[in-house]
């Protein structure tokens, strides 16, 4: 028999610590390299309290990405001048020198002509500072990709305004009643899924945490939950308002929290702004004991009124809470039931269960600090918030939590920082009138108003929004209408696939791409967008490069090191080297270093700051980020792999103690009026198309426009991801395509048996979804696990490349069904509508070569 081990982890070799990059988050890993230098096993690092030695299916595939024969092995140059989805680029390998010469020459030309002519699509989440590179490129602020489809155009600004963080999650360590509304947290997607799934499973099984999932589709979470509540798509806000109605009507809210920790008691005048005292401009509250209005910080305040109408200084004013209460008159469970299809009794029961589980009034002692204890929380994400009225919707979800007083509270709904350059509590800051300072811009500083616009996606007009990249579809195909005094001709794509991820008319996207004078792409495999490039620069694989990051972990924190476990397999470079080289050649290296300093937070420890004239590689940046976090040298990180600990409770729980949270977001009105004024002054021609109603200080039950599409589009189409495809491309990895295309929910377009029968559709038939904006074709997968008015399209079915050996095009790109227009864009947050109205028709019964047939339909559509 064999004396040499046959199992990979048992072979002779070494284990190297690293950090996973198979999604954008940062699970800690151990990588096994054989004596011969071959990576043959990637496991979770058991020393991490985040993923605790465990990995999701994607994380288990890291070595196949490294050894992927489809990797770009050297810089490539296009020889076919014709560009198109079906054009063979005619790649020829070139040297780095030649590649940098071309890229440097072309980008320099652009920079000199007008830096705004560059369209960047930079989406490497583990090297977030790269997103800021365009700022070094003459303060370019264009954005040719979209956050709204991935995660949340409305989500991140609202988290920034409520928690002062990028993301948010329920507190899995203490929560006892977890609602997941249009979200896969803890089961299938979003934040640190291997870690979240572990904490979630333990909470459910060991602590008996109850999970309620509200979604049109029976997701993994829905399948595991105590209760799955199917809901009509794009009505999650109305469901939440129904809950709020019951909570308020039945007085199931946390009075003390609302009075002490929020601005719900601030008096609001008839114009929607807080009533301010004339002499010092201070916000006012009503003291019901003394029966008079007082400044919010008046030490004589004996109690705060939450309700009532008061006459103050000659105007009628109401506490913010009373305004919300009045709004809720229109949101009875009966009315919300009609909109959502969730039974009235269910809305009422869930609200009561939620409030009971929240244990309002209870406290807990953690690390010697006594705090409120609210172990019930409403969690949500893309599915629920990704609608035209994204801002209202996100705000409404926060209010469900605020009513029971659980924001940033043990057991409740807690803000999670992104890549944490704020070692201490620096992410929160006091704002005006005792309130927390709203931080809607978590990814980059605000883009100032300008007309003519400086950004192709109109970010100039979203003072509270996150890059509505989908608007490029209308602006770049009709630039006159938007008054541009430049037109972009250069594109830089870095770990991004804009053609795939952006909604809207595909022919228009192709038209925009065709007009580019020069496209440079940086990635490790090609995709639908990068095949349009003129020059492709190969980036190192995760297992060949350095990095230091922590991307929005939930209940843990601490920098995670990525280090090369083997020498580069091919002629690739790190992103740092690539951007440094380009920067140097076009003369912006010094600015780039300054910007990196700012984005990485190095000024907090000035000795870490990058100096002008020097090029810092991936190891240098990683080392500095480690030192910034905990003063540990990179060698320490190489040994440990990470500095991950549970979140420090003083930073995690109520870091804003003493400040008031924004129950009523007056800030939104301020920004609205400022924008209005700017637009008027500059006579912006499209200002009348701006839907100003999207800016509200409190949410209401208005319907999103998707519900008002013509009646013939009688079903809703949604798209979804599961844990195997959570963030980032990986279907070209055989193990992933293996498990994805065998999973029933990813085998075809999900349709309820009743809806199928009504349309003569049988399991496996070829069906077509037609929306007012586009159509896609795929196989029907009949399932009981979906709302009868809804068809579900797995994100796995939306690829259309066929040069990846194991990708199975199927269904067509869901984003083609979606509009890219102002009507369906939240004027406040920039969030786009992610649900489509469609009619569903049978094309034919299943052909023998179903895959080929579906593929042939892609361009036919």
């Amino acid at each position: 028999m064999n004396n040499h081990p046959v199992q990979n982890s048992m072979k002779e070799g070494k284990w190297v610590t690293s950090t996973c990059k198979m999604c954008l988050h940062s699970c800690n890993t151990l990588v096994h390299v054989t004596r011969e230098g071959i990576v043959n096993k990637v496991e979770g690092n058991p020393s991490s309290v985040s993923n605790k030695g465990r990995l999701c299916p994607k994380g288990n595939c890291a070595l196949l990405r490294l050894y992927d024969p489809q990797r770009i092995k050297s810089p490539l140059k296009r020889t076919n001048p014709k560009k198109g989805p079906k054009e063979d680029p005619g790649w020829v390998p070139i040297s780095w020198e030649e590649a940098f010469d071309i890229v440097g020459r072309e980008l320099k030309k652009t920079l000199q002509e007008d830096p705004r002519k560059l369209l960047p699509a930079i989406n490497d989440f583990q090297k977030l500072f790269l997103w800021a590179w365009p700022a070094a490129f003459g303060m370019n602020a264009n954005y040719f990709t979209v956050v709204g489809t991935y995660c949340g155009g409305g989500y991140h600004p609202m988290n920034g305004m409520v928690h002062s963080t990028f993301a948010a999650a329920n507190d899995v360590d203490y929560c006892n009643y977890w609602m997941n509304v249009g979200s896969g947290d803890g089961f299938s997607s979003h934040l640190h899924v291997a870690s979240a799934a572990n904490y979630m499973a333990n909470a459910r099984v060991e602590r008996g945490m109850r999970v309620v999932v509200v979604e049109p589709r029976l997701s993994i979470g829905g399948a595991k939950a105590e209760e799955w509540i199917p809901i009509r798509p794009a009505t999650d806000r109305q469901f939440a308002l129904g809950l709020c109605h019951v909570l308020v009507k039945e007085k199931l809210y946390d009075v003390e929290f609302l009075k002490k920790d929020t601005n719900a008691v601030y008096l609001v005048g008839p114009n929607g702004y807080f009533l301010r005292r004339k002499e010092d401009n201070k916000c006012m509250v009503w003291d019901p004991v003394d029966q008079k209005a007082k400044a919010w910080d008046d030490e004589s305040i004996k109690d705060y009124a939450l309700e009532g109408n008061y006459r103050v200084d000659g105007v009628t004013a109401r506490p913010a809470f009373q305004i919300f209460k009045d709004t809720l008159n229109d949101c009875t469970p009966e009315k919300m039931s009609e909109i959502t299809t969730v039974p009235t009794e269910t809305i009422e029961r869930i609200a009561r269960e939620f409030a009971t589980a929240a244990q309002i009034g209870s406290t807990i002692r953690i690390d010697g600090r006594s705090m409120p204890f609210r172990p019930a929380a409403f969690n949500y994400y893309r599915g629920a918030q990704g609608h035209k009225n994204g801002s209202l919707t996100n705000h409404c979800f926060k209010l469900v939590n605020m009513l029971v007083g659980n924001i940033d509270t043990p057991g409740g709904h807690i803000g999670c920082t992104l890549d944490d350059q704020w070692v201490d509590k620096g992410h929160v800051a006091p704002g005006d009138d005792g309130m927390l300072k709203p931080m809607p811009h978590q990814l980059h500083p605000e883009i100032p108003f300008a007309y003519p616009p400086n950004t192709t996606h109109l970010q100039d007009y979203f003072p509270l929004g996150v890059d509505p990249g989908h608007l490029n579809n209308i602006t770049l195909t009709n630039p006159e209408r938007f008054g541009f005094n430049f037109y972009p001709d250069t594109m830089l794509i870095c770990h991004s696939n804009p053609l795939w991820n952006m909604p809207g008319d595909q022919a228009k996207w192709f038209e925009i791409m065709r007009k580019m004078r020069f496209i440079v792409a940086i990635d490790i495999v090609l995709n639908e967008s990068t095949v349009w490039a003129d020059v492709v620069l190969p980036a190192d694989d995760t297992l060949e490069s350095w990095n230091m990051t922590m991307i929005e972990p939930t209940n843990t924190e601490g920098m995670c090191l990525r280090q090369p476990v083997i020498p580069r397999l091919y002629d690739s470079k790190s992103e740092e080297e690539i951007f440094n080289e380009i920067s140097e050649r076009i003369g912006i290296l010094d600015v780039w270093n300054q910007i990196q300093n700012f984005v990485c937070g190095f000024p907090q420890k000035p000795e870490l700051m990058l100096e002008p004239g020097k090029k810092y590689n991936d190891r240098d940046i990683a080392e500095r980020k480690g030192l910034l976090w905990n003063d540990k040298p990179i060698e320490w990180y190489q040994e440990q792999g990470h500095a991950v600990t549970k979140r420090r409770s003083d930073k995690w729980y109520r870091p804003w103690e003493g400040m008031r949270l924004h129950f009523y977001i007056e800030y939104i009105l301020q920004r609205r009026d400022e924008l209005k004024e700017n637009m008027e002054k500059a006579d912006v021609p499209f200002r009348h198309e701006w839907s100003w109603g999207d800016y509200q200080a409190l949410p209401d039950a208005r319907l999103d426009p998707v519900h008002q599409e013509p009646r013939e589009y009688d079903m809703y189409a949604i798209t979804f991801k599961d844990i195997q495809i959570n963030f980032t491309e990986n279907l070209s990895i055989p193990w992933i395509s293996d498990i994805v295309y065998k999973d029933p929910v990813h085998m075809g377009i999900l349709i309820n048996p009743k809806a199928a029968a009504a349309r003569g559709i049988q399991n496996g038939d070829v069906i077509r979804l037609t929306s007012p904006y586009g159509k896609i074709t795929g196989l029907a997968k009949v399932t009981e696990g979906i709302h009868p008015e809804t068809v579900g399209v797995s994100n796995a079915l939306t690829r259309w490349v066929d040069y990846h050996m194991v990708i199975k095009p199927g269904g067509g790109n869901f984003n083609r069904l979606l509009p890219a227009d102002l009507r369906n864009t939240d004027a406040c947050s920039g969030q786009m509508e992610t649900v489509a109205r469609v009619k569903v028709t049978k094309v034919r019964s299943r052909p023998a070569n179903a895959d080929e047939f579906i593929k042939s339909q892609f361009y036919a559509d």
């Binding site: 799934a197 844990i723 309820n752």
Partner: protein
């Protein structure tokens, strides 16, 4: 001598198939060979519907039909209860594969090794370092990661499972976690009516 067994906690399993891939990583099994996998079952009709995720693996039966029908004694049971196939004895008749009520065995074909995971005819260095353990034409199956177990480690699918839905342990040891869960939560065996005495249990 321990008697190794596994418990699947169906309340925990989320059907992510990290186990499936961890196994492929650990064992370099070729394309289309899945020693473990998790399937789903839709139960009920809308809106009263749910889905169960069910991990499947070689059950390492006490009374293994695969071992019984094997004409060459290539299939054998180790002292610790792990059912193994000796790749040097197996003739690839497939009798074991047809006899396994759980369809948990795979026959290897040369073509799988030639085409590789990317079905391109090019083998990755990972595949090259790992395929040596296999003999085309023979039958293979889960070994409970016997070498890891011999070294005191848990199988690859167990350590990677994000939800800890797989519990590996000594069924003879009254204080092993596996044994305690089976008893506390009334574990049951798959297709128990066949009386193959699986060493794999499920708890709801």
């Amino acid at each position: 001598m321990p008697r190794w067994g596994m418990v699947f906690d169906l309340k925990r399993c989320i059907g992510c198939n990290a186990c499936t891939i961890a196994c492929k990583q650990e064992n370099t099994t070729p394309d289309r060979v899945l020693w473990t996998k998790t399937v789903s079952e839709e139960i009920g009709t809308y809106p009263n519907v749910t889905r169960a995720y069910i991990p499947l693996i070689c059950n390492h039966c006490e009374d293994a039909p695969c071992e019984r029908v094997c004409p060459t004694k290539a299939t054998y049971t180790r002292e610790d209860g792990i059912v193994m196939v000796d790749e040097n004895k197996c003739i690839g008749c497939g009798a074991c594969a047809t006899a396994c009520p759980y369809k948990n065995r795979y026959k290897l074909h040369q073509e799988q090794f030639d085409r590789g995971l990317y079905r391109s005819g090019q083998l990755t260095p990972f595949e090259k370092q790992g395929y040596g353990r296999f003999v085309a034409g023979t039958t293979v199956k889960c070994t409970f990661c016997h070498e890891r177990v011999d070294a005191g480690l848990e199988p690859a699918c167990v350590i990677t499972c994000p939800t800890e839905a797989r519990i590996f342990g000594d069924l003879d040891n009254p204080s092993s976690k596996a044994r305690r869960i089976i008893q506390a939560r009334k574990g049951y065996q798959p297709l128990a009516q066949h009386n193959t005495k699986p060493k794999v249990f499920y708890v709801e």
